[in-house]
């Protein structure tokens, strides 16, 4: 490759990220790999849903009925990767951990890119 062009590309792509930012990206990647802790710890300590985030089915077990409005709204949206997993029926730890990591990477990458785009559109202040 033409060395000038290479330097130009390198400056455009690589030079914009400093050492601290590189370190943060590595840190974020490590966090993505560690997310299964977020399902294994609750499993180990026998902890269930977050307060107020129960399914309609669970609410029925608690109070004997499903509130009318809750029943009406609870299925209003079908998320493509509901609860950070593809096949919730497969309870195996390996399956759930694997999909949790993949969801973490997909979600964090989307969040990162969308936030970058929004920031670039908004911020023109070079100082």
């Amino acid at each position: 490759m033409n060395p000038d062009l290479y330097m130009l590309l390198k400056r455009r792509i690589v030079m914009k990220i400093n050492r601290l930012q590189k370190r943060i990206l590595v840190f974020l990647l490590i966090l993505c790999m560690l997310v299964p802790v977020g399902i294994l710890l609750p499993m180990y300590f026998n902890a269930g849903d977050a307060w107020g985030e129960w399914s309609a089915q669970t609410i029925k077990e608690f109070i004997g009925y499903v509130p009318e409005g809750l029943a009406k709204y609870s299925d209003v949206w079908k998320a493509p990767i509901t609860d950070y997993t593809i096949n919730a029926a497969d309870k195996s730890v390996v399956h759930q951990s694997g999909f949790y990591i993949i969801s973490g990477i997909i979600g964090a990458t989307m969040t990162y890119i969308i936030m970058l785009v929004i920031s670039k559109l908004l911020i023109k202040n070079e100082e």
């Binding site: 914009k16 990206l25 974020l28 966090l31 609750p42 950070y84 969040t111 908004l122």
Partner: protein, 232 residues
């Protein structure tokens, strides 16, 4: 703390959508004015951090789960308005793609975790810590900012849950939305955040703020802001 669809009545979630959208509009203007382009890569990373940290569900043994949010640390380092946008992006993606938090509750969830929480954290921090050279004081201030802001955000969320039986019930006294009132929701959510999740948010906030103070002290918004005020 991600309120699902069906737990809030329209009388609650529609006004909260309004409040959130107004706050987000102001945030866009403030970020445009006050944030430097040098911070753009950091803002992407901050939003991604918030997304990831919320996946670390922590247990109340034998009970419920909860997690840190990351709003406090983002507010202290990049300012509360930037935190509003960054955490909102994470929350909206969690709702749309992963069904974590309801679509009807996006306004409520973003208001709680991306508007209320970063501002509470930011003002607690600048109230306690005024001098970046006093490192242990910065650590303490960051811890308290993270701890208190998460606990208060949990209580705010519990109030939104707990007022539902008052707002909307059937003629025979059955709940239409969240069935638990304030006397159940508030203590339940306050205690778990006071004892466990708040401490985690505090430690995360203190550790990261201290790390930035050691490596890139000029970046920290909470201190920069005060410098410019003094120069006036």
């Amino acid at each position: 703390m991600h309120i699902p669809d069906g737990y809030l009545s329209p009388q609650t979630y529609i006004p909260l959508y309004g409040v959130f959208i107004s706050a987000a509009t102001v945030a866009v203007k403030k970020v445009k004015k006050t944030v430097s382009a040098k911070n753009i890569p950091y803002l992407g990373m901050a939003a991604a951090f918030s997304f990831i940290i919320m996946m670390f569900n922590l247990p109340v043994p034998g009970g419920t789960t909860g997690h840190a949010v990351g709003s406090a640390v983002i507010a202290i380092i990049f300012g509360p308005w930037a935190a509003t946008i960054a955490v909102s992006v994470a929350l909206i993606i969690q709702a749309l793609i992963f069904g974590d938090g309801g679509i009807t509750a996006i306004g409520a969830n973003c208001f709680n975790m991306a508007v209320f929480m970063p501002f509470v954290a930011y003002y607690i921090f600048i109230l306690i810590s005024k001098d970046p050279r006093k490192k242990s004081r910065v650590y303490l201030a960051s811890f308290i900012a993270g701890y208190v802001s998460l606990v208060l955000t949990a209580i705010l969320t519990a109030v939104e849950f707990g007022i539902q039986p008052l707002i909307a019930s059937t003629a025979d006294g059955k709940a239409l939305y969240c069935p638990y009132d304030l006397s159940i929701a508030v203590p339940a959510m306050a205690v778990e955040h006071l004892l466990i999740f708040g401490i985690v948010e505090g430690l995360i906030t203190a550790t990261i703020v201290s790390y930035f103070l050691g490596n890139e002290p000029g970046l920290i918004y909470a201190f920069k802001k005060k410098d410019s005020d003094e120069n006036k």
